[in-house]
Symmetry: C2
Subunit: 391 residues, 2 copies
């Protein structure tokens, strides 16, 4: 009995050690795959090209987006239903989940990693939370110059503990300095144009662009200039002759920024537009297989991978950014929804929703290297996003 107790004792003591050995790992190669239909996410490992856990109970993950803490341990998942969920990647579990609004559309994390901001449709405005606890820090209502409350969208982080976003109903762009989070300093650009439906910033955090639904064009704010000014660019980029519903407008996170150019999906056309970042003029068009949804640059900028809207959404085309020519086309499977490159761009993960699969491709040879089962996968987000501005 004495020996038996000792053995039992030794075994029980070993358990946490074994667990520790499994769990002590780096987080630079982790990521999240959204499983929209089931309200769950996969925690994935890009080194192993596999899944290390599934986290359930995240609510409505339509158009969900994800940002990461600076230590790359925690993911913040923004759901369409106003849900904000903090996920621990190392334990594949929920740290805390709040429902902070009735209807929301993405968020951002401040450059110091301390604040999470969410842009809301219902009610409008932006709400800011403590990244550690998800406790509320401040609400910033979006009351436009018209005196009415606006939906907000196109929320991004900027250097210096700042955020920028657009007011859909009022037609404004706001830049908020949250150095003192309890007393945000707001710069409001009013009368920028009708119904900005999406916004984004270039990877250096300098140029904020918003697409206009109510007019035919894009608004540009160079955040390095003082005072801030909104200027119209790319007239003709917008919806053109045929009116389109807002959900058909391309999302501006579908841009690729490569060197001194942007590649943008042309609204309602089977084209990418190349725009010079020095003067925001169109410098070329690339005819594509379908209506582009996402144009994603390989991190070195040499190639841009493009997927397409239904019914041509089984295909990816790869554009050589030097020649602006398509160098490869292939069909991964039904409903290619998203693409995410590993940090230095050697591989790319592709969600093939209707095949319940994420495929991993070699980004140099285009050879398929792995297939990972997933339940109706949509967005893919790797922890490298913690290191990038404007995510």
């Amino acid at each position: 009995m004495r020996l038996g107790t000792k053995l039992w004792f030794a075994l029980v003591c070993m358990l946490p050690l074994l667990a520790q050995a499994t769990e002590l790992r780096g987080t630079g190669d982790l990521g999240i795959v959204i499983e929209r239909a089931t309200g769950s996410v996969l925690v994935v490992d890009t080194s192993q090209r596999g899944t290390i856990g599934r986290v359930e109970g995240l609510g409505d993950l339509s158009h969900a987006s994800v940002v990461f803490s600076p230590d790359q341990r925690f993911a913040f998942v923004f759901g369409r239903d106003g849900g904000l969920t903090k996920v621990d990647l190392l334990t594949a579990s929920i740290v805390r989940r709040i429902v902070q609004a009735g209807n929301a559309i993405g968020g951002a994390i401040s450059d110091d990693g301390t604040l999470i901001a969410v842009s809301n449709y219902e009610p409008g405005g932006v709400r800011v939370f403590d990244a550690k606890t998800l406790d509320p820090v401040i609400d910033i209502p979006a009351t436009g110059a018209d005196g009415k409350s606006s939906k907000t969208l196109g929320l991004v982080d900027l250097p210096g503990r700042r955020f920028a976003w657009s007011l859909y109903d009022a037609g404004e762009i706001w830049v908020a300095d949250l150095t003192d989070a309890k007393a945000p300093q707001l710069t409001k650009l009013t009368g920028i144009g009708k119904l900005p439906y999406d916004g984004n910033v270039t990877p250096d955090g300098r140029h904020y662009l918003a697409g206009l639904f109510g007019e035919d064009g894009v608004v540009h704010v160079d955040t390095w200039q003082t005072p801030l000014r909104a200027e119209r660019i790319l007239n003709g980029y917008g919806k053109g002759e045929e009116p389109l519903p807002v959900y058909k407008m391309p999302h501006l996170e579908g841009w690729a920024a490569v060197g001194d150019r942007l590649l943008l999906p042309a609204v309602g056309h089977h084209d990418l537009i190349a725009v010079d970042l020095r003067d925001f003029k169109e410098v070329g068009r690339i005819a594509t297989h379908g209506q582009p949804v996402f144009a994603v640059a390989r991190p070195d900028g040499r190639y841009v991978w493009v997927n397409f809207a239904h019914p041509r959404n089984d295909t990816i085309e790869i554009v050589d950014t030097l020649s602006l020519k398509i160098v490869h086309r292939f069909a991964p499977g039904p409903a290619v929804l998203h693409m995410e490159f590993t940090p230095r761009g050697n591989e790319v993960w592709v969600s093939v929703r209707d095949a319940d699969r994420v495929d991993v491709y070699d980004a140099t040879t285009f050879a398929k290297k792995a297939e990972i089962p997933a339940q109706k996968p949509s967005g893919i987000f790797f922890t490298v996003r913690a290191t990038r501005i404007g995510q």
Copy 2:
């Protein structure tokens, strides 16, 4: 006694759990500070602005450099004495240390994280190791067109499991495709100019530049072009009228790449040269406090922080890249050797060697936020480098 045993049992079983709780952490906010004089490194935590361990026994760390594994758990430290040490950041301990040459000058990690390459002075050539084990994979001797063995330097990784480096004695630049690591495909550019003393690549992995010690200029290879070609640029950039010893030549890792410009230290002058990346022509000069050593861009590219050579090495100047004017100057202390920004650029760490201190500054307000004791600190390297090309 029975109760006593149970208590002891419970306590002993808790120990590994406590250890686990401490050690289970993300690695996105970790880094290494080189302590050259003592052959040691500090493992640091940028979130806590502090040190989490010291690792000793790394040999001669003059001009040491560091790369990181894709999971951001392991650092590979390249010493001047040919030492290559793999450090586990989570346990602050050495995984393996080899002395792979008599005299070496930096290394790189392949874009897939599997290969570590080191450029050697004695003997010359490049040696390649398995990143997991540090076992040798292949030696690539650097026998130039002159039939003699060369020192190698300016070793960088390129996309597609490639590396590039320069041959000092032979005056050549080689690009190696290690898709099949046992059978490297070498492209040799010969007759590029006399005595390339350093080389580097732009952050997109596209433009490889080597400074010439034997002539007055820089050599440029656009790695996106086929066939590869070496072209002379920036005549007058080099040592100019007065002959300087090679150790006085600026290191090309001292560049800042901002948007479509490079800022380069001018040899033997108190100047930074602004170079347009579209045509590699000089477009401006910035008069500085001393001979610049490192010009380091804040990740958004808005500001470049510059330190200087002895005897003006107590000072930092900050250049606004929009106006090319100096907007701030301050003296952190004696012998400011290196600067490293946090991934999104909210803070910057500065090694003040002769004060035995690393200072942390707010990169927006320039206020000092922390002082961290260190033994004669020199280079500072954060794990975000795992996500960057050409490190």
